[in-house]
């Protein structure tokens, strides 16, 4: 049974190359499986390429799902990353 959270991509560029890189990098630090879900399409959040192909411009609503020993930590960390706009000036 996995846990999920809903987020909205706020930073102006959306999940562009660098935010996508940071996102997949962070997801990879957790032992749990992590997925990114958009309009029913589900990709491996640990893969920068899969995250990029999801093509998420600003305003996209996404679901992050995680399953595994540290699923809640993973979800919290990824939520913070997205909600702080990837701590990037853009």
């Amino acid at each position: 049974m996995s846990n999920e959270i809903h987020v909205t991509i706020e930073n102006r560029l959306g999940l562009h190359a660098r935010p996508a890189a940071r996102f997949s990098q962070l997801a990879s630090r957790f032992a749990s499986d992590v997925w990114l879900i958009k309009d029913g399409k589900r990709v491996d959040a640990k893969s920068i390429l899969e995250v990029l192909t999801l093509a998420c411009p600003a305003g996209t609503r996404l679901t992050i799902a995680a399953e595994g020993p540290d699923e809640l930590e993973a979800l919290t960390a990824l939520q913070v990353l997205i909600e702080t706009g990837f701590a990037e000036y853009d």
Binding site: L13, A17, D44, I48, L49, E50, L52, T53, A55
Partner: protein
Amino acid sequence: MTEKMTEKDNGGMLHMKGISASPGVAIGRVFVLDRRNRRIFKTYIAEHEVESEVQRLRAAVQKAGEQIQAMLRSMQDELREHIAILETHQLMLKDSMILDKSIDMIQRKMVNAEWALDHSLNHVRRLFGHIQDTYIRERIHDVEDVVARIQDILSGTQGIPMEQHTNPVVVVAHDLSPADTIQLNRKNVLAFVTEMGSRTSHTAIIARSLGIPAVVAVAGVTKYVFTGEDIVVDGITGDIFIRPDEDIIAHYTDKQACYIQHRQAMLLQSHLPAVTADGFSVSVQANIELADELDVAIASGAEGVGLLRTEFLYVGRNDLPSEDELFQAYFECVKRMSPKPVTIRTLDVGGDKFLSSLPVSPQTNPALGLRAIRLCLKEIDLFFTQLRAIYRVSAFGKLRILFPLISGCSEIQQIKVHLNSVKEQLRAEGIPFDEDVKLGVMIEVPTAVMMADLLAKEVDFFSIGTNDLIQYSMAIDRVNEHVAHLYDPLHPGILRMIHRSVEAGRLQGIQVGMCGEMAGEPAYTPIMVGMGLDEISMNADSIPKVKHIIRRCNAGLCRELVNRLLTACTSQEAREILEDFLSRYLPDERQLTHPYLCDAARH
């Protein structure tokens, strides 16, 4: 373009034509830097070989990672913008879509690592092909770069073996990415030939900055030539000859010698000041984009940088450069040019260059939209970062600031308010700067010409940007093929606008320069002299030729020429007046003032 499929087989000479991107003639051996047309063979492996094949792939990925790490470590300061690219490559290298998928395929289908990897890449290509966002879609080239590196290691070709090349070669490629050029041992490159590109692409800029010939946009060239074959590259005309016969080699050996001789003769005199026979002097400066170009600019006799374009620092990335990054870039130019002045133009994007870091909503007519100074005055943080960096550098050398797309006095007044805040900030922070940095405006909007007398009271110098001035005054979009032929610097209306701007500057006692393409055309040099321009700034390449022409001119006669041009009714009439002047007073310089000037160098 002559492109005959069969000739590769019989090994005969093949002539192809592209766009000349950097002048010069090269004759040498080809080195094909070819990723796209790599042949990958499918081999089935036995069950007991599966594990070792997976290990082979893992080892190659590991090694590729080490190579990228080594590049990151050895990265020179000026290439910092590439660091982010390489870091993304590191992530892609170990991405499950590449690595896990390939391993899975080796195990399930029992095929070789190369084939599995290629299959994974094609899968990613298909997925990326559906992405609408151009910027993200183009990241596929990064994935291709990364996979090519792994393939090179698997096949034993070991990345780009240019480092190991001891003999100079002509690099032939589909396209050269910034990551490729980082790795090339530039001293061993005789010329570049690419299938993609334009005069303003990365390869062209690098080639010009290194002073080596380049021909770009040669469709399909990598299909017709192999590493080790002979090639002749004429960067003056854009011709290339693969497997040249003796006649061609003899002809181009001659042309090369003539070009070098001509170039050296020009360079020998390039440091002499540009003073006319009757003592009128013009400061001839360089338009540059990269610090890389400074060496060629200085060697060509540039008396300063008349236009430092800063857009290069912003494009091709998805974030904005920091103040420190800008400081370093400007500092490098100012320091190396010192004590000669550097004119830094603030960001000029939005018309034909766009930033992914600063998306503006689509505009029906971007040339007339939110661009250049308008964008800077709207995105004030963007403007402040530039101004702070520029002022910080002003403590270390001579620089001036040039503002693009000024249409009248109100923009200057707004700019000055911001400049005062920047200065106050710096003072409060105890950062030293030059209080009297000279400020200038581009004269490129017709209303700026009409307001030139009043603008001249507000600023220290003018720089006439002919490219945009012509486009805006004549209502011609240069890239629109239906009207591009109407674009003409010799239109009497344009000549009058230039004249009017120079006169307005002269009355106020400020310096007037020109930095558009017109300034670098030797045939127009007598007009520049006759107009009384104080400075002209151009691509480094043109500097020796233009200085040479100035030394052959008589300013009094040039003023008469301008007076006559100002009475012309049509471009045609103006052209006849100029032609008459050139053949009467500068008959010996025809090879320079002829439109295909470099080609004449062979005689």
